[in-house]
């Protein structure tokens, strides 16, 4: 009897503790610390920009205008007062032939994101398939695939990419293929290691005993097990791919310079650093923002879904 009273007392005491609703500031801080809100927002903005580039861009990205040659960004009102015949303000300035940098940036998002997505998808699909096979079948197939990865990783990628771009001609397809080739190696290694441990699990044995085909085991029992690792790895790689694409374009070996990409814009603006810094700086900042946001999201995904990949 006495005991139940004691319990009731404790319960009422707990109920009587004043529950303080966290202030708005505390709540905001909580969400911001736990979720990559800002990076996701930045990424969303860039993705929307790339989809609706035609609607958002204030001017045509290719239209040249000699009056707006090296026009400064919008805050230099002096320039725009002096040149009243310039029909439109260049929000982020104009480049050396008077093309609107903001519009080019917006259109450039499209190519950068498309290339990164496609090459990542290619690299990840090939890498995962090979990794699954190497890990599951083992033996000579494993040796062959692992050694191929070793050999491939020991090649100076950038030089070979430049050479290939010049040999086969510069096109978006070629860049995608080259970057996919750069991405698959790391995926194979991690997926293979994962499969090696998954393969010995009992549920795999029992599904084999109950007559599941190899394809079924691979697709229904192995793939879901490695998908976490793959997603995390993929997110951590996108940033690198965007940087690689920009570097190739910067060196003049990426997509043809007639199409708008951030790397090409930076490389064009390089010659005008002492007269019009905005030509090179804004596209560079765009690369920085996108890659940094993706890295944030990747780190977050890794901590949440696959903390073992910590060392990456």
């Amino acid at each position: 009897m006495a005991r139940s009273v004691a319990i009731e007392d404790a319960a009422t005491a707990e109920r009587n503790v004043q529950y303080q609703r966290p202030t708005l500031r505390q709540q905001t801080w909580y969400v911001l610390r736990r979720w990559p809100v800002l990076p996701l927002f930045v990424l969303a903005v860039f993705i929307l920009m790339s989809i609706f580039a035609n609607l958002i861009a204030p001017q045509e990205p290719w239209r040249q205008n000699l009056r707006g040659r090296a026009a400064p960004p919008f805050w230099d009102t002096q320039f725009y007062d002096d040149n009243p015949r310039l029909e439109q303000r260049y929000i982020l300035g104009g480049d050396h032939v008077g093309r609107d940098i903001l519009s080019r940036l917006i259109h450039g998002t499209r190519i950068s994101l498309i290339i990164a997505t496609l090459s990542l998808a290619g690299g990840v699909i090939v890498g995962t398939t090979l990794g699954l096979m190497a890990g599951y079948f083992g033996g000579w197939l494993d040796e062959l695939i692992s050694r191929a990865v070793d050999v491939w990783n020991a090649l100076p990628f950038l030089l070979i990419a430049i050479l290939a771009a010049i040999t086969f001609g510069q096109s978006v397809t070629n860049v995608v293929v080259l970057l996919a080739l750069a991405a698959w190696g790391g995926v194979v290694r991690n997926v293979r290691a994962e499969v090696l441990s998954l393969r010995t699990r009992e549920y795999v044995d029992s599904s084999r005993v109950s007559g599941a085909s190899t394809a079924r085991i691979l697709l229904r029992h192995m793939l879901p097990g490695v998908i976490n690792t793959v997603v995390v790895l993929a997110t951590l790689r996108v940033g690198g791919l965007i940087l690689a694409e920009a570097s190739l374009s910067f060196l003049g070996a990426g997509v043809p310079s007639s199409s708008v990409t951030w790397g090409v814009m930076v490389s064009e603006g390089r010659q005008f650093l002492n007269t019009a810094w905005w030509i090179a700086v804004f596209p560079g900042v765009a690369i920085l923002l996108v890659v940094m946001s993706i890295n944030f999201v990747g780190d977050w995904l890794r901590d949440r879904f696959d903390p073992r990949l910590r060392q990456l």
């Binding site: 050999v151 100076p156 030089l159 040999t167 060196l251 650093l273 002492n274 890659v291 890295n295």
Partner: protein, 316 residues
């Protein structure tokens, strides 16, 4: 261990063969190299000369034979002559090697001096201003393209402030201050990303070590804080950054191609890009061969340092 070494060396050689094969095939696909030998405005190239050249370069033989002829020369240390300047490939490459090595060394020193201490600091004072500063530094290093760091550096320190030169390597001037000044911007551009890598690695392994039992024991015994950090923790935390050092050196090769293009630095990376643009395939294959050797040696060294630094790791 010996077996593992032998295995690694065999795969290294395979990588080299693959690299040269890829480069050789790609560079031969680029169009008729004979046309390059015809000098500018060379209308007067006669049939006989072309035939003689074809013979000399073995261009009339199948591609695979051409490759083995080239490979035979390479094994004897003969990379042939460059097409444009008609000079020995080896001499040209070794001429430019110094500039790249200098840049890679200073870049590495920068990365180590910045990355490792900042990593320790941000681990020891976790959550402090130092920690946030270090992490911001690392974030920017990992997200900024190498060429953009270079361009921002030129913009601020060469164009606006006019403190440092915008590029090139003043070989004929004394090291101090002219050459030193010219080195600063390329070094930072090249070294920022590796510094970020060092920082992250040092920080995470330092945190791990500081959390271990023997550190707690040392603290409980009354060892001073500095002694615990530098003598007990730091030495063990250093394993991770040391093991990636060789890989970081490899990364410098890739980085040097871009940095040398931005700063007009007369090194191997620029030589490679130039040779691609000039369609100078003997030179290009020579450069890529050198790169591939450095890559293979680098990853071998990286693997070996694991077991040297951390005896707990064994190889089959």
């Amino acid at each position: 261990m010996a077996g593992y070494m032998a295995q690694r060396i065999v795969f290294g050689v395979m990588s080299l063969v693959a690299a040269t094969l890829i480069v050789f095939v790609l560079s031969r696909l680029q169009g008729d190299p004979l046309l390059l030998y015809a000098k500018p405005g060379g209308y007067g190239v006669s049939e006989e000369q072309i035939e003689a050249l074809t013979k000399k370069l073995a261009l009339d033989r199948p591609l695979i034979v051409q490759y083995f002829i080239w490979l035979g020369g390479v094994i004897q240390g003969d990379f042939g002559q460059t097409i444009l300047a008609e000079r020995d490939v080896r001499t040209v490459v070794f001429e430019k090697l110094g500039a790249t090595i200098q840049l890679a060394l200073t870049g590495w020193i920068f990365a180590t001096l910045v990355g490792v201490p900042l990593g320790v600091l941000s681990a020891v004072k976790r959550g402090s201003v130092w920690d946030y500063a270090g992490r911001t530094f690392a974030l920017f290093g990992q997200a900024t393209p190498v060429f953009f760091i270079g361009i921002l550096g030129i913009l601020f320190f060469a164009v606006i402030l006019d403190w440092l030169p915008a590029g090139s390597r003043p070989v004929h001037e004394p090291f101090w201050p002219a050459q030193f000044k010219a080195l600063i911007l390329p070094t930072v551009a090249l070294g920022w990303l590796p510094a970020a890598t060092y920082l992250r690695l040092t920080r995470s392994s330092m945190l791990e070590v500081l959390d271990s039992e023997y550190i707690k024991l040392a603290r409980a015994k009354g060892v001073t804080s500095n002694w615990v950090i530098w003598k007990h923790a730091f030495r063990n935390a250093l394993i991770a950054p040391i093991t990636v050092s060789a890989l970081i050196m490899i990364g410098f090769l890739e980085g040097s191609v871009i940095v040398e293009a931005v700063f007009a630095w007369p090194g191997i990376g620029r030589l490679a890009v130039d040779s691609i643009q000039n369609n100078d395939f003997p030179l290009l294959t020579g450069v890529i061969f050198l790169f591939a050797i450095l890559y293979v040696v680098g990853s071998l060294v990286a693997d070996l340092t694991y077991s040297l630094v951390d005896p707990r790791i064994r190889y089959r």
